[in-house]
């Protein structure tokens, strides 16, 4: 497939999409000094040229609709189109965000229903739907933990504990909340090192951020003991909901001792990733933290739905978005939840776990090394390609790039950092056994190729629109926008 010229290269001064150009408006009266003189660099193309350009660009993408996407920790499952259809109703799309609540009862009823559903799903007391992604949910959680301690007159707690294997957003969030991050170790079996936790936890501990199943892809078996340890020291427990798909309908974070959590609706509730967003990261809390939830939320007064703002929630951490966060994503998540129903939700965790355990078993039988062979896989699992890297000189990165040539997206690579040359593999519940078997075959084939001709694998991909890209050059010789002159 040839490289596609940039849209600016096909642009011609004065060309336009006539049917899209309204009649010019009169600007007389506006001061000249405030008007634009320079012509912006925007495409000047016909509508067809634009349509063709972006159609061709789309064809250079992998996507769930086209490819298997076993990206650990990202839950790339099928995104039902019905949810998209539901959110695209004119009443939803055309609603101005400042329309008063009395004229928005339809939308508010949907948010109310989603809040209630997520309360049940998480086993928590209250939910705010506002955060626009997982990382923003984490931020909300951190700010609530801080507000709680400060309200208790406790200003000494300035540390957030995270396991060394945690998502990068956890420590980055702690910093944004004005906290220091303190890392705790992970034991050889993948569980948090409780002895290390006990050494570190204390009067400086504001809270701990955990994922369960953990980022090592195993269920944290001593979670209740961890919760007691942190609570006894006066700290709170934050649940990073990235891996909620694994336990949906089985157990609730609220029953594992967590005080606050976020969900990633673009993972567990199947809203599309859109090439990097939008997501939605609602937060759920127990009664301790309920007063601090971000606004607005939806409440019910007699039979009417109302917005809960500062006047109802004086202790709120405040607003996280200009309006109601990613409202359209919330509708999609509700649509998905309605279609699953209670029986479907349990099936999600069961089939996701079945698929992951089957794939782990087959890869192990094929000679690949599981990172935690004595542990049960959850909805995902880790393999290490350390042996292949040592024996054949072919690294996890090379396997990842070569997998693309087999029309499969690579699993998450080099995360968590403590497992060398690792793949974090999450097949999700929406894939068939046949697809899982193809993945195992592809991995075996790549290993064979590496044994015969390591260089070939190290130069992968071979069949994509581009060969392996020079990322060092991209960072060193920054070229961040098109300029006709520099070609």
């Amino acid at each position: 497939m040839p490289t596609i010229p940039s849209i600016f290269d096909t642009s011609k001064p004065g060309r336009l999409a006539g049917g899209q150009t309204p009649k010019e408006g009169d600007l007389t009266g506006l001061p000249d000094a405030l008007l634009r003189e320079s012509k912006p660099v925007l495409p000047e193309v016909s509508e067809l040229q634009a349509v063709r350009h972006f159609t061709k660009l789309s064809q250079q993408n992998f996507s769930i609709d086209g490819n298997f996407y076993p990206l650990g920790s990202c839950t790339m499952k099928y995104n039902p189109r019905g949810a998209h259809r539901a959110a695209s109703q004119p009443g939803f799309l055309n609603r101005h965000p400042l329309t008063p609540a009395f004229a928005s009862q339809g939308l508010l009823s949907c948010f109310w229903e989603l809040q209630e559903t997520l309360k049940t799903v998480t086993g928590m007391e209250a939910v705010s739907l506002v955060p626009m992604a997982g990382a923003q949910g984490e931020l909300a959680g951190g700010l609530m933990i801080r507000a709680y301690h400060e309200d208790c007159g406790d200003f000494e707690r300035d540390e957030i504990l995270v396991p060394t294997a945690a998502h990068g957003t956890n420590p980055a969030t702690a910093t944004m909340c004005g906290y220091k991050t303190r890392e705790i170790g992970v034991a050889a079996d993948g569980d948090v090192d409780i002895e290390d936790l006990k050494r570190v936890v204390g009067p400086k501990t504001a809270g701990i951020m955990l994922t369960n199943p953990s980022t090592c892809a195993v269920f944290e078996r001593r979670i209740l003991e961890i919760a007691d340890t942190v609570h006894d020291a006066g700290g709170l427990l934050y649940y990073d909901g990235a891996n909620l798909n694994a336990i949906l309908g089985k157990v609730c974070p609220g029953d594992m001792g967590f005080d606050v959590l976020h969900l990633n609706l673009h993972k567990t509730f199947a809203t599309p990733h859109g090439g990097g967003g939008p997501g939605a990261g609602p937060v759920a809390v127990n009664s301790l933290l309920q007063p601090y939830l971000p606004i607005p939320m939806v409440g019910k007064l007699d039979d009417e739905y109302i917005w809960l703002d500062e006047s109802y929630c004086p202790l709120t951490i405040g607003k996280l978005a200009a309006f109601m966060g990613n409202a359209g994503i919330l509708i999609r998540a509700l649509a998905y939840a309605l279609m699953l129903g209670r029986e479907g939700m349990v099936r999600v965790a069961e089939y996701a776990t079945l698929n992951a355990n089957y794939l782990a078993a087959e890869l192990s039988k094929a000679g690949f090394q599981l990172a935690y062979p004595t542990r049960r896989a959850t909805h995902e699992f880790l393999i290490t390609l350390n042996k292949e890297a040592k024996d054949l000189g072919v690294r996890a990165l090379d396997f990842a790039k070569r997998l693309l040539d087999f029309d499969m997206h690579a699993p998450t690579t080099y995360f968590p950092l403590l497992v060398p040359e690792c793949f974090l593999i999450e097949p999700t519940e929406t894939e068939t056994k046949a697809v899982l078997d193809e993945f195992v075959s592809a991995m075996c084939k790549i290993r064979e190729e590496a044994q015969e001709n390591a260089e070939y694998v190290k130069q992968a991909p071979h069949n994509q629109v581009v060969r392996r890209l020079d990322e060092v050059r991209a960072a060193r010789e920054l070229d961040l926008n098109w300029s006709g002159n520099k070609e």
Partner: protein
């Protein structure tokens, strides 16, 4: 499959969950619906909220969106793709983002744009954090908010920055606009100004920019990207231009949709790029020397830098950026320019007609772009309520909700979508309701 794993049933796969954790109880959740039943039910809810003409702006605008924009953006290859970490399998999204960065930076008159943040509100918060990191010479962490900056953005930004010892200092507007002479702080670290401001008024951006520059502070411009097709871009304000520009991309092909998802954007001078949060795409070459695109400067980001990252942002608003890039490409220079100027003319017509009724009068006299504050002779709250309930019309934003001294004021907007007939009918209703009230 169970046999391959070596278990008798699926329940065994969950045997590492301790029995002491109770089994989830989902009885409160309904039984499953088919797609048909689900869509029917949600469509009923949506229908309940349908309204007619919209004269409300205040940060979200009712613009026409070419049909092709969302037909293309919702192709499965864009809609269901992941973040383009595997560059070789994501050239479509990456090239599109590079083209977006080019268009956005050029509209702003600045050197670089990132690949989006969540929305205009959180975008302002990120812009402030970025500016504070960038302006190391500053002796304080005071951020001057110059006059009428979007109050929803300010509340959001405050949530994001206040735990880092940063203080937002509101400098009240003078007759609707920011007057640096009234600023009580002479050595601000960062100054924020919005153009057009929340009241739709045009700020004297050249003078403001020079004032900020003379104090070695950084200037953040909050803008509506559509208006930049017509208004002087922040990079060209005064002698040296604004340092950072942020805003909400909703006017560029994104439906109002209750405020989200839309996308926030950040542009800056090149010298601040290493303090930029979020994803940035760079052009490079592949092993054959052919052109390709990849995420770059990732050492700023949370997945590499962890606690020292420029932000915790990970997932952003990729699909909305996709739509905006297609929108800007189809509209082009003339389309954007004419849309912006048509909004201005329509609003000017609306204001003139309302003033002619004798029941409304402009509250401020600086030039305005496509929104305007009108002081009304009558009960504004009752007016907006009656407009919705009896006529399905959104009559503007009652400013009393944010400032008691403006409780007889409406912030109104007429985009290019409002026809003369719609505007005339609105003026007639306005007159009649206030007359009866």
């Amino acid at each position: 499959m169970l046999q391959s794993i070596g278990v008798a049933n699926i329940d065994e796969l969950f045997d590492e969950i301790p029995d002491s954790v109770p089994v989830a109880n989902f009885r409160a959740i309904e039984s499953s619906l088919t797609e048909m039943e689900m869509v029917y039910r949600l469509a009923e809810s949506a229908k309940q909220d349908e309204l007619g003409s919209c004269f409300l702006g205040a940060g979200s605008y009712d613009h026409h969106i070419p049909a092709a924009v969302w037909d293309l953006a919702t192709r499965g290859e864009f809609l269901t793709a992941y973040t383009p970490y595997q560059a070789e399998a994501s050239q479509g999204t990456l090239q599109l983002l590079y083209e977006f960065q080019t268009m956005m930076a050029s509209l702003a008159g600045l050197d670089v744009a990132n690949a989006s943040v969540y929305d205009g509100g959180s975008g302002l918060g990120e812009a402030i954090l970025m500016a504070v990191r960038s302006n190391r010479r500053a002796r304080n962490r005071k951020i001057v908010i110059g006059g009428a900056v979007n109050p929803f953005y300010l509340k959001t930004a405050n949530t994001l920055v206040r735990n880092q010892g940063i203080e937002l200092v509101d400098v009240p507007h003078e007759n609707g606009v920011f007057d640096p002479k009234q600023c009580p702080i002479d050595d601000p670290n960062v100054v924020v100004v919005q153009q057009p401001n929340f009241f739709g008024l045009l700020e004297n951006v050249d003078a403001i920019s020079n004032w900020v520059n003379e104090r070695n502070a950084l200037l953040i411009a909050v803008v509506n990207p559509l208006t930049l097709a017509v208004l002087k871009p922040p990079g060209e304000w005064g002698e040296s231009g604004a340092d950072i520009c942020s805003g909400d991309g909703q006017p560029l092909g994104v439906p109002m949709a209750s405020g989200g998802p839309s996308f926030g954007f950040l542009c800056s001078k090149m010298k601040h790029v290493r303090q930029m949060p979020g994803r940035i795409v760079g052009k490079t070459v592949d092993a054959n020397g052919d052109v390709g695109y990849t995420l770059t400067l990732q050492a700023r980001e949370q997945h590499i830098r962890r606690a020292k990252a420029t932000s915790n942002i990970c997932t952003n608003q990729g699909l909305l950026v996709t739509a905006a890039t297609i929108y800007m490409s189809i509209m082009g220079v003339s389309g954007l320019r004419n849309t912006a100027s048509r909004c201005h003319e329509n609003t000017k017509y609306l204001v003139a007609q309302l003033e002619a009724t004798g029941r409304a009068q402009r509250a401020f006299h600086s030039p305005y772009f496509h929104e305007c504050v009108l002081r009304c002779a009558g009960d504004v709250a009752a007016l907006t309520k009656s407009m919705i309930t009896d006529h399905g019309v959104l009559a503007g934003y009652p400013l009393g909700e944010i400032d008691e001294s403006l409780d007889d004021c409406l912030l109104l907007c007429a985009t290019e979508k409002r026809t003369r007939d719609e505007i005339d009918r609105f003026v007639e209703l306005f007159n009649r309701i206030l007359n009866e009230g």
